[in-house]
Symmetry: C2
Subunit: 346 residues, 2 copies
DNA sequence: AATATTTATGTTTTCGAGCACAATATTTAT
DNA sequence: ATAAATATTGTGCTCGAAAACATAAATATT
């Protein structure tokens, strides 16, 4: 039925040697029309799939993959990524891969450019990175492309022909999910969209989320909401938000576009105030605490761990099994409340 | 640094032949104390990991895995499982596995027992099944165990020493997640827990969900809710629920413990009634339609596809790589609304 | 026609683990 | 002391793909 044919089988069936079969399969060397015909006739009938185990046994090239990651010590958002990388390394440790992670400072473009110099010197076969800085990313990607180094991205999307793949979430829809949740909780009232520490590096991130959030309500044509956008910068986030709260006593819902929801939650929990619905991002410890206390109602989980896991494994499987790297992998937008949070955290 | 050592390397370092090293590694045959000592000294210093590729190349045993699945034509709940199995098969097609799926009628224990006869005749190396019928499952599992056939379960948990592994969700917490969602939407009022077509096969399923649901509210000690349980059976679900609605005009929330929420949603959408919050299970087409219409507020996704995928792959990796099968794999309890549903559906 | 060159095809080795079998060393029995 | 039995160790083959290498056949050059 589905017997596994080998090159030797094909050679026998076609009445040639396995060397000739190999040349046909890999389109190398010259083969006579006669032999080609005979082999193709066999290949048409049977379903040949090369044994990937045997292929990779002989292959002793060490593939080098470099991963660029914002330092989790500076922004804990990136911490789960390390586990995702480790999982991938573990799963494919039988194969010849040298996978190295390089940390850069997410606040500084210089750090990003510098680390790319280091990576270039390693002359890797593939690079995985979050394209936080738009212009700088395009620069470095161009260099990689010229050297035939595969570039995969995660976290946020940047358009470039030099990018082979993107793993992440649809940020526009992520904003819509948040909007739907608030809509369900509130039905009407004043809503604030809060961006904290908006810098160039994640401005697009936040804008997309806001666009989706507003899109949901404008599609509903619901006039019962009053939506304002608030941009706050550390170290004045708490003071300024407190002022905003005092000036807007009727505020009933908040959508925070980054993982800094805990800063807002802190102010709210310290203030006597009617219940405000709060939706934020990411299951970092501070956020989960406020989720469990009931100050934050929902967190949207961006699944960083799986982003890097899939980013790395798709590269590995490309080299090992000639598996095509998907252009885009969109991960589900996980809605998290106090009751299911633990299942998303390792 | 982390050079990969081979048996040949060890043999050279220890000054013996690779045959002897092999005997030590596999504790087979007799080896002199002298040789054992020399080899162990080498093994203490270096970190030997056998090359799994080479090992599996030679291994031409065909492992047989049988999967028992309720017929998706009878209950579409099980449809995604097929994709999960296919994914696993695809991923490991390079290896020698014969993976066969057998369908049984989820309504009938006889069908289940009969299909187990068929599976037994195949003398598989491992079996994956959802233990829907408690007593019957224990019976068949005992037989498998006596024949040294590995038994993995998914969907719902049954206690037995003969079961190697369970993949699924924590149903108690699943009920709590639903409760938390309703609590957030309602704050107070009358809530109905509805079990549809409760039969022995999934009675425990439903009971666990109800237990978690009620546990959440009793923990909160909130007296503002009035929770009643309603058991409905087809073909009278719609009529009986309609009656219930008329008798309870103040009903404000419903939790349906199975994938049949669409039956309830249908009645609600056909009735002039104030908004009732509805939470159900599973992203089957009918449910998602009512989710998009706003009749159902949330669906809890039980991720059947991933359940079977993980159930199968953990068996495969056990045979291939001696990887231990995890006793329990608990999948996250995914909260789904109209905005993120599409990302969970393939 | 004889030799050089190109083109086509077949053979052999390699990768690492695993295991059968052959070879050698040691012990036991007579 | 020597044959036989047993214990220990070494060798070589297998798995399938890949590619280097070797050979054979066909064509070109003088």
């Amino acid at each position: 039925m589905n017997k596994k044919y080998t090159i030797k089988d094909i050679a026998q069936l076609a009445g040639v040697s396995k060397g000739t079969v190999d040349r046909v399969l890999h389109k190398r060397g010259k083969v006579s029309d006669d032999a080609l015909k005979k082999i193709n006739e066999v290949l048409d009938v049977i379903n040949y799939e090369p044994n990937l185990i045997a292929r990779n046994l002989k292959n002793n090239k060490v593939y080098r993959i470099c991963i660029l990651l914002p330092d989790p010590k500076i922004d804990p958002y990136w911490l789960p990524c390390i586990k995702g990388i480790e999982d991938a390394v573990q799963e494919f440790r039988a194969y010849n891969f040298a996978i190295e992670t390089f940390f850069f400072n997410p606040e500084g473009k210089k750090s990003f450019l510098k680390i790319n110099e280091t990576v270039l010197e390693k002359s890797p076969d593939a690079v995985l990175l979050p394209p936080l800085f738009h212009k700088e990313t395009l620069e470095v990607i161009k260099k990689y492309d010229e050297l035939n180094i595969i570039v995969n991205t995660f976290n946020n999307q940047v358009q470039s022909d030099s990018i082979k793949s993107f793993v992440g979430q649809d940020l526009f829809h992520s904003g819509r999910v948040a909007a739907k949740l608030l809509d369900l909780l509130l039905k009407k009232g004043q809503i604030a969209i809060i961006h904290i520490d908006e810098s160039i590096k994640n401005a697009i991130h936040m804008q997309e989320k806001e666009r989706g959030f507003r899109n949901y309500f404008s599609e509903k044509q619901n006039q019962d909401y009053n939506i304002t956008t608030l941009k706050l910068k550390n170290p004045n986030v708490e003071i300024n938000f407190n002022n905003f709260l005092n000036e807007n006593p009727d505020l009933s819902g908040i959508f925070i576009s980054t993982s800094k929801a805990y800063q807002i939650a802190k102010v709210i929990s310290e203030t006597k105030h009617k219940k405000i619905a709060v939706i934020g991002y990411d299951l970092i410890e501070n956020n989960v605490n406020y989720l469990n206390q009931g100050v934050i109602d929902f967190l949207i989980h961006q699944n960083q761990k799986r982003q890097t896991y899939l980013g790395v494994t798709s590269i590995i499987e490309f080299f090992l099994f000639d598996k095509q790297i998907p252009n885009t992998i969109l991960l589900p937008i996980d809605i998290v409340n106090s009751e299911n949070a633990s299942f998303y955290i390792e």
